[in-house]
C-alpha cells in the first residue's frame, strides 16, 4: 500500500495531468494555425471576465448547460445515452417561441406559460426517443441523432417559412419576440435572468434528492445497472426509462427556451448551440454527481464564453473551445484508465453506465 502522502500526490497528479496536457496540446494547435497561445489566453480571459456583461455571457451559457447536465445525469443513471438532448432543447425552444410569437398575455402569465410549454415540448421529444427505444428497439443513440436532425430541420423550416419575420426573413431568425415574452434581466450591467438561476438551483436540488431519496431514483439506478434483474425484482423498467427520458427532456427544454427567450430573443437555427453535446461531455467527466456537474459546467461555460471573443480579436474560429473541452474529457477518460492500471486500490469515480451500440431492449415481460 502506498503511504498516504504518495497516494494523495498520485491522485492530484492524475487529476491535473489531463488538464495540463490538454492546455499544452491546444497551445500547439494554436501555434499551428499561426497564432500566439498567449494572445488566445488573453482573449478568452477577456471574453469571459472583461466586464460584467462578459461574465453575464458566461452565466448565460452556464444556465442551459447546467440544466442539460442535470437532466443527463438522470438518463445516465438509468443506463441511457440520451444524445437526443440537443433536439430536446430545440423543440423546447420551438414550443416556447410559439407562445412568444402568438400568445398575447401579460408577462407574469406569458413567461410561466412559455416555460411550461418548453418543458412539454422537450419532454415530448424525449418521449419519442424513449418510445423508439422501448417499443421499437431502436437504440437511443440513433433515435437521438435522428431526432436531433429532425428537430433542427423543423425549426429551420419554421424560421424560414411560417414564422419568418413579416419584412422578409434571411432564415437567420424569426421576428424578435415582444418584450412581454422575454425573461427580464437582473440589470443592464449584468444581463442574466434571475428566474433562470432559480430554476437551475431548483433543478439541482430536486434531482439530487429524487435520485438519492426516492423509490423512483432507486428504480432508475437498478434499471441502469441491470434491467433484466431489475425487472425480476419488480421494477417497472420500461416506465422508468421513459420517465428518465421525459425528465431530461423537460430540463433540456427549459434550457432551450432560455436560449431563445433571453440570449437570442428570437428563434434561431440550432438554438441549442451544441450545448446539449457539451453537457454530455460534462457528465462523462464528472459521473453521476449533480453538484460536481454544475461546477464543471461552469468551467466549460467560462471557456465557451471566453471563446466568443476569439473571432473578433484574433480571427480565430470558435471551435477552439470545443477542441480544448474535447481534449480535457478525452484525456481524463484515458487517465482514468491509466490510473486504474497502476493503482488498482484507487477508488473509481462513478462513470456513466457502459452502453453498447448494439440494439439493446429493455425487455418487457414476454
Amino acid at each position: 500500500m502506498n503511504p498516504p502522502s504518495n497516494r494523495t500526490a498520485l491522485t492530484v497528479g492524475f487529476a491535473l495531468l489531463p488538464i495540463i496536457v490538454s492546455l499544452v496540446i491546444t497551445a500547439v494547435l494554436v501555434l499551428a494555425v499561426g497564432s500566439n497561445p498567449i494572445d488566445v489566453l488573453v482573449a478568452v480571459a477577456e471574453g469571459a471576465f472583461r466586464n460584467s456583461n462578459s461574465f453575464a455571457g458566461v452565466v448565460n451559457f452556464w444556465i442551459p448547460l447546467a440544466l442539460c447536465s442535470i437532466g443527463l445525469i438522470v438518463t445516465f443513471t438509468a443506463g441511457l445515452w440520451n444524445i437526443g438532448v440537443e433536439g430536446q432543447m430545440i423543440v423546447g425552444a420551438v414550443f416556447a417561441s410559439w407562445a412568444a410569437l402568438f400568445v398575447d398575455l401579460p408577462a407574469p402569465l406569458l413567461i410561466p406559460l412559455e416555460i411550461v410549454l418548453a418543458m412539454i415540448g422537450g419532454g415530448l421529444w424525449a418521449a419519442l426517443v424513449g418510445f423508439l427505444k422501448t417499443r421499437l428497439g431502436v437504440h437511443e443513440i440513433f433515435g437521438g441523432v435522428a431526432l436531433n436532425a429532425l428537430a433542427n430541420v423543423w425549426s429551420i423550416y419554421l424560421i424560414s417559412g411560417p414564422w419568418a419575420p413579416p419584412t422578409g426573413g434571411t432564415a437567420q431568425a424569426t421576428a424578435p419576440f415582444k418584450d412581454s415574452a422575454l425573461l427580464p434581466p437582473l440589470s443592464s450591467e449584468f444581463p442574466v435572468s434571475l428566474l433562470a438561476l432559480i430554476l437551475v438551483a431548483a433543478a439541482l436540488v430536486i434531482v439530487t434528492f429524487a435520485l438519492r431519496g426516492t423509490r423512483w431514483g432507486l428504480q432508475l439506478k437498478a434499471t441502469g445497472k441491470n434491467s433484466k434483474s431489475a425487472l425480476l425484482l419488480g421494477v417497472p423498467t420500461l416506465q422508468s426509462a421513459m420517465t428518465a427520458f421525459i425528465v431530461c427532456g423537460m430540463l433540456a427544454g427549459i434550457g432551450g427556451a432560455y436560449r431563445v427567450l433571453f440570449t437570442y430573443a428570437s428563434l434561431r437555427p440550432l438554438a441549442s448551440g451544441g450545448i446539449g453535446f457539451l453537457a454530455l461531455l460534462v457528465v462523462l467527466l464528472v459521473g453521476l454527481r449533480p453538484m460536481f456537474a454544475v461546477m464543471i459546467a461552469f468551467t466549460f461555460a467560462v471557456i465557451l464564453g471566453g471563446s466568443t471573443r476569439l473571432k473578433v480579436a484574433l480571427q480565430l474560429d470558435q471551435s477552439l473551445a470545443g477542441v480544448l473541452q474535447g481534449f480535457i474529457v478525452l484525456l481524463v477518460l484515458l487517465s482514468n484508465g491509466l490510473r486504474q492500471r497502476f493503482t488498482p486500490s484507487a477508488v473509481e469515480p462513478p462513470t456513466p453506465i457502459t452502453a453498447t451500440v448494439e440494439v439493446q431492449r429493455i425487455q418487457p415481460p414476454v
Binding site: G137, V145, A149, V153, G326
Partner: protein, 325 residues
C-alpha cells in the same frame, strides 16, 4: 433510358461511395467486436487533413494517405482506450466524434473555399461502353472502383477464409477464439485500425472527389451517423452495406430532384429531414425482427443460402472487453 436518369443514377453511385467505404470499414471494426462511434468526426477530420495535404503537396495520393492515417489514429485511440485502459468504447468514441469535428473546423479554418486537386475521372475502357450499366457504374473516379473491390474482398475474406473465421470469432465469442489459439486483442487492434483507415479514406473521398474542398460546416456532417446506422441496417454484412448506402444516396438524389422540379412544392428544408426519417425506419425494420420474419417465410433451400446475408443480430461480443486469463 433517359439521359437525365442515367446521370442521376451515376451521381447516386458517386455519392454513395464514401458511405460504402466508411460502412465497410466500420463493419470490419464491429465484426471484431469494437465500436468506433467517432465516425462523424473522423470523416470530417480525415477529409480536411486529406484535402490540406493534397493541396500543399499537389498530390491526391498523399492526400488520401494522410486521410487514412488520420482515420487510423483516431481508431487507435479508441482501441487503446477500450482494450488497454478498459474505458467504455462508446464514451470514448463519442468524445472523439465531437473533438475530431471541432479539430477539423479549427485547423481547417484557413482552407475553406479554396479549390484543390481532385481525383481524376477514369472511365474503364471496355466496361464503360455497356449501354446504361456502363455509364452508371464504370464512369467514375478510382475510389468508386475501389469501393466495388472492397465489397467483394471484404465479403470473401469474412466468410470464405480462415482469417475471416478468426475475425468473426473475436467479435462473437472471444473466449472461444482464445481457446483456439487466436490472439484476441491483437486482432481487435488490427481490425479497428484497418476500419479506421477505411473511414479516413471515405473522408478523402468527400474532399477529393464527391464534394471537393473544405467548408464550414462540412458537407459530410451527419454522414458518419448514417454510416453507423447503415452498418446496423446491413446486419454487419458487406452486401447489405452497399444496399443501405445506395438507399441513402438515392434518397438524397431524389430529394434534390424534387427540389429542382417546379411541379412539386415541398420546402427544401423539409427534404433535408428525409435521410433521418429513413434512418429511423430502417432501424425499426431491422430491430423489430422484420428481416427475420422475411427469412422464415422463404423456402428451405433458399433459406440456407440467404441465412448469412439476412441475419441481423449484432456480433455477440460487440462493445465488450476481453481479458485473457
Amino acid at each position: 433510358m433517359d439521359d437525365n436518369l442515367i446521370n442521376i443514377l451515376n451521381s447516386v453511385v458517386a455519392n454513395a461511395t464514401p458511405l460504402v467505404i466508411a460502412g465497410i470499414g466500420e463493419t470490419i471494426t464491429e465484426r471484431a467486436g469494437v465500436v468506433n462511434l467517432s465516425l462523424d468526426g473522423s470523416l470530417a477530420l480525415a477529409a480536411m487533413i486529406g484535402f490540406v495535404t493534397a493541396l500543399t503537396t499537389q498530390s491526391v495520393i498523399l492526400g488520401m494517405i494522410a486521410a487514412m492515417i488520420a482515420g487510423a489514429l483516431i481508431a487507435l485511440i479508441i482501441a487503446v482506450a477500450g482494450i488497454e485502459l478498459r474505458q467504455d468504447q462508446v464514451a470514448v468514441g463519442f468524445v472523439l466524434t465531437l473533438l475530431a469535428a471541432d479539430l477539423a473546423q479549427f485547423l481547417g479554418q484557413n482552407y475553406t473555399r479554396i479549390p484543390g486537386p481532385t481525383l481524376p475521372y477514369v472511365p474503364i475502357p471496355v466496361l464503360r461502353d455497356i449501354p446504361v450499366v456502363g455509364e452508371i457504374f464504370f464512369n467514375h473516379e478510382p475510389l468508386v472502383y475501389l469501393s466495388y473491390a472492397l465489397i467483394f474482398v471484404t465479403w470473401y475474406a469474412l466468410f470464405h477464409t480462415r482469417s475471416g473465421l478468426a475475425h468473426r470469432a473475436v467479435g462473437e465469442r472471444p473466449a472461444a477464439a482464445f481457446a483456439r489459439g487466436t490472439n484476441v486483442n491483437r486482432l481487435r487492434y488490427f481490425y479497428t485500425i484497418l476500419g479506421g483507415a477505411l473511414v479516413g479514406l471515405a473522408g478523402a473521398a468527400y474532399s477529393l472527389a464527391v464534394k471537393p474542398g473544405w467548408s464550414t460546416p462540412p458537407v459530410m456532417r451527419g454522414d458518419g451517423w448514417i454510416a453507423l446506422a447503415i452498418v446496423i441496417f446491413a446486419g454487419w454484412h458487406p452486401f447489405r452495406v452497399v444496399l443501405g448506402a445506395y438507399l441513402f444516396a438515392g434518397l438524397r438524389s431524389l430529394a434534390s430532384a424534387i427540389q429542382r422540379s417546379p411541379d412539386i412544392q415541398i420546402p427544401l428544408v423539409l427534404l433535408n429531414g428525409l435521410p433521418w426519417l429513413l434512418m429511423i425506419i430502417t432501424l425499426v425494420l431491422v430491430s423489430g425482427g422484420a428481416v427475420e420474419r422475411l427469412l422464415n417465410i422463404m423456402p428451405r433451400p433458399l433459406q440456407k443460402a440467404m441465412r448469412t446475408v439476412l441475419r441481423s443480430d449484432p456480433p455477440a461480443a460487440l462493445g465488450t472487453r476481453f481479458d485473457e486469463g
